[in-house]
Subunit: 238 residues, 4 copies
C-alpha cells in the first residue's frame, strides 16, 4: 500500500501545482490511474484543486461510481477520466482545464499546433471535440458515461483534446507528463496567437516532436516537478 | 435578524472576492437586496471593495438614501443598484465593475457574446447603455435616480449591461450568481477577442445557455465560492 | 515645517504606490513642488521607487541642482521635473514612467485618446515628444535642462506627454492627480488597443472629459489613494 | 579567492532575479566566466533557477565538463555557455531563457528590433538560429559542443540570438548587462508586437543605440540590480 500512499501524495501535489500555475481555477481536475488496480482511478471529490488534500481523494470505477460509496459529491465531469482510462491503456493520468489562452482554438477552425519546445508533449495533432455534433444542445458538460466515451473517441490516440467553448483534456503516460502538457499548452497558445499576427508560422516538425518526446535528449520534466512543487508550497508533502 | 447578519457577512466576502479576482480595483461595488425588506438594499459606504468590513455596510432605499441617516459618504453611483432592484423583482444582487477586458465591447459596435461555458450566466444578449443618448455630455457616472432608471431600462430583462467607456453592471438572482458572472465575463471577453483574431467564432447557442443556466447539469457555483473565499483570505468570515 | 513633513510622507507613499501598481519598475520617478517654496521641488535621489524612504527625498532647484549639496547621485532625468514646474505654475506633481502598454502609442502615429472614464485625467489630446526632432541621435534620456525645456514645450498645456521609445510624463495639479493619471493611462492604452482591433472606437467627448474633470460629479480619487496606500503596504506611513 | 566567492554570490542572485522577473521558469539558466580563469565558467547543476544556491554552482570547461568531476547532473544545454565564452572573449555572462513574449519572433520572419530605451542592450540586429538548418530534425536542444558552436556562429558579434521554437540566449560583457537585456527583451517584444498592430513603427536608430550603450548617458543598470535583488528576496545574500 506504500505505492498507493505515494500516488495519493503526488496527486494532491498535482492539484496544487495546476492551481498555482493557473491551469485550473475554481474548476478543473486531475486524476491518476490506480497504481494497484488498472480498472480504477483516483480523483478528488468535488473541490477546487487548490484546496484538495489527501482525504479528498476517492477511488472510482470507469463508470464514475465511487468504489467505497463515499457520500461526498463527486465532480460532475468525472466521466472524462473513466472514459479515457477505459479506451487508452497507455494513459495513467488525466487533466481537465478551462485555461483562457487555449479556448480560442476550441471555438474557431484555426488548429492548435505545437510551436515551442516545451509544449511538444501535446503532439502534432490536437483534435477538437464539439459535443453538439453528437448530442445537440447540452450544458456542455461531460455529464454521462456516453459523453465521456464520445470525447475519448475524438481524442483517439492523441495527447490533448480541445472541448468547444469549454476547455481541454490532457492525457499522459505519467502524472508528470499530463501536468507538463497542461502547463505548457496555454503558453504554446499564447506564442502561436502572437506569432500568427506577425506572419507565417514555423511550427515544430513531426520529426522534432518525435525526438523531443522519445529521443536521447527527450524533455526531462523532473526538474520542473521540483520547481512547481516548491512554488505551490508543497515541499512538506513531497 | 440572523438572516441579516449572514447576508452582511456574505456581502463583505463578495467585496473581497471581487477585489482579489481583479473584477474591481479602487472603484466598483456590490450590493444585495435586504433579506427581510425587499424595498431596501445593502451596500457599503464609499470605500474600495478590498477594504470593506461589516461596519461599512449600510441600508438604502431605492432612491439611494441611507435609511438610518448614516453620515458616512455613500458611493456616488449607488443609483445603479436601487434602479435595478426597483425594476427587477427577480434580482437580489448587483455588481458594478470597470474591468479592463470588458471595456472594448462597450466602445465599439462588436457585440459581447457568450463564448465559454463558465460565462453563460451573462445570457445570450448583452445590451450596451450609452448615457449620452439620453443625457448628452455627462461625467459618465450614474449620479441620479434618473440615470439609474435609464440604465435599468436598457438592461431590461438581461443579466449584464455594458456602460459605454465606463464598465458593466451584472444582476443576479443570488449574490453568488452576480459574483460568478462578474468573474467570468472578463474571461469571456479575453477569449472572444482572441478568437475573433483567429477567425469565425462558434458562440454558445441559445439552447446551450438555457441548459447551462437551468438544466439538470446547471452550472454549480458553490464550489467556486469556497475557493474564492479562501483566495480572498476570508475563511475566518465564512 | 509640518507641511513639508506631510509632503515628504505623501511623496514616499506615491513612490511605493506607483511601484505596486506597475507604473514604474527599477526606473521612473515622481516629484512634488515644494509646499513652502514654489521655485523648488522634492524628488528622491537615484533609487528605484519601491525602495524610496523619507531620507531619500532631496530638494532641487529648477536647474536640477540639489539645494543642500547632498552628495548622493540624483536621477539623471531630473530635468523632466524642473522644466515642467518652471513652465507650468498650475502643476504641483510630476510622474515619469516607462509602462509597457503606453509605449506603442509613442512609436507609431496612432494617437492616444481617452476611451474610459477613469483615465479622463489624461485630457483630450496627448502630444508625443520625439527628442530626435530637436537633438538628433541621443541616448533618449532627458539629460540636460535644454532637453527638459524642449519636452515641456511639447507638453504645453496638456496633462501627459508621450516620449518616443522611452515612456511618458504626467503632470498634475496635485500629487493624487498625477498618480491617478499614471495608474489609469496604461489601462486606457490596453482598452484602446483592444477596441481598435474590434472596430471603430467611440472615445470620450470633449464635454465628457470636462465634466469628469471639473463638474459636480468630478472623479474623486481620494478613495483610490486609501486603497493604493493599503495595497502598497504604507498604512503605517499614512 | 574573495573574487570567486563574490562571483558565486552574484550568480546565485542573478538566478533568483531571472526567476522573479519571469525571464525563466522551471527551465533556463545563467552563467558567468570564471573570474580567475577565463577558460572556465560558473553554472549551476541542473536545478530551476529559483531554487539555485551557492552549493549548486559548479565550474565547467568550454567542452561542458565539470572541472572537479562533480557527480550531480549538469544542465543538458550547458554547451550554449561554453561555445559563447570560447568564441567571444568580450563576453563574461550568458543567460538562456524561454520567455513567452520573445518566442513569436523566433518562429516568424518578422525581425526583433529595439523599440524602447531600456532594451537597447539587445543591439540593432538580433539573429535567429534555426538548428534545423545545420542539423535537420533534432530535439531542439543544444545538446552537444557542435550545436553550441553552430549557435555561437549565428550569434557572431551580436548580444542576443533567438532560437527557433525554443527561446533566446543573451550574452553580456558583465552579469548585470546579460541580466538587464534578458529582463527587457520580453518587454521590447510586447511593445513591438502591440505597436505593429497600430501601424508603422519608429524603432531606435543605430546612433541612439550606440549612445545608450556607450555614451556619457549610457544606461546605468546598477539601480536596477538593487531593486531586482530586493524583489527576489536576496538582500541577505547581497
Amino acid at each position: 500500500m506504500r505505492e498507493l500512499g505515494s500516488a495519493i501524495r503526488d496527486l494532491v501535489i498535482a492539484n496544487r501545482i495546476l492551481a498555482r500555475e493557473n491551469v485550473v481555477d475554481a474548476y478543473g481536475h486531475v486524476s491518476m490511474r490506480h497504481p494497484l488496480n488498472p480498472e480504477r482511478y483516483l480523483l478528488s471529490c468535488s473541490r477546487s484543486p487548490e484546496l484538495v488534500g489527501r482525504s479528498d481523494i476517492l477511488e472510482f470505477n470507469f463508470e464514475g461510481e465511487p468504489v467505497d460509496g463515499d457520500p461526498r459529491p463527486p465532480y460532475l465531469e468525472r466521466f472524462i477520466h473513466g472514459a479515457i482510462y477505459e479506451a487508452r491503456p497507455d494513459i495513467n493520468a488525466v487533466v481537465h482545464s478551462h485555461a483562457d489562452d487555449v479556448l480560442p482554438f476550441s471555438i474557431t477552425s484555426t488548429p492548435m499546433r505545437p510551436a515551442i519546445h516545451n509544449a511538444s508533449g501535446m503532439g502534432l495533432h490536437v483534435p477538437v471535440w464539439d459535443m453538439r455534433d453528437s448530442f445537440g444542445d447540452t450544458s456542455l458538460l461531460v455529464a454521462t458515461v456516453e459523453h465521456g466515451r464520445d470525447m475519448a473517441r475524438t481524442l483517439a490516440g492523441a495527447s490533448v483534446v480541445l472541448m468547444r467553448g469549454h476547455g481541454f483534456t490532457a492525457a499522459g503516460r505519467t502524472l508528470l507528463e499530463a501536468v507538463g502538457v497542461s502547463v505548457y499548452l496555454p503558453k504554446n497558445a499564447r506564442v502561436l496567437m502572437n506569432a500568427m499576427r506577425l506572419g507565417e508560422v514555423k511550427a515544430l516538425s513531426p520529426g522534432e516532436i518525435e525526438r523531443i518526446r522519445t529521443g536521447p535528449h527527450a524533455h526531462d520534466l523532473r526538474r520542473a516537478w521540483e520547481y512547481w512543487t516548491r512554488r505551490a508550497g508543497c515541499e512538506d508533502l513531497a
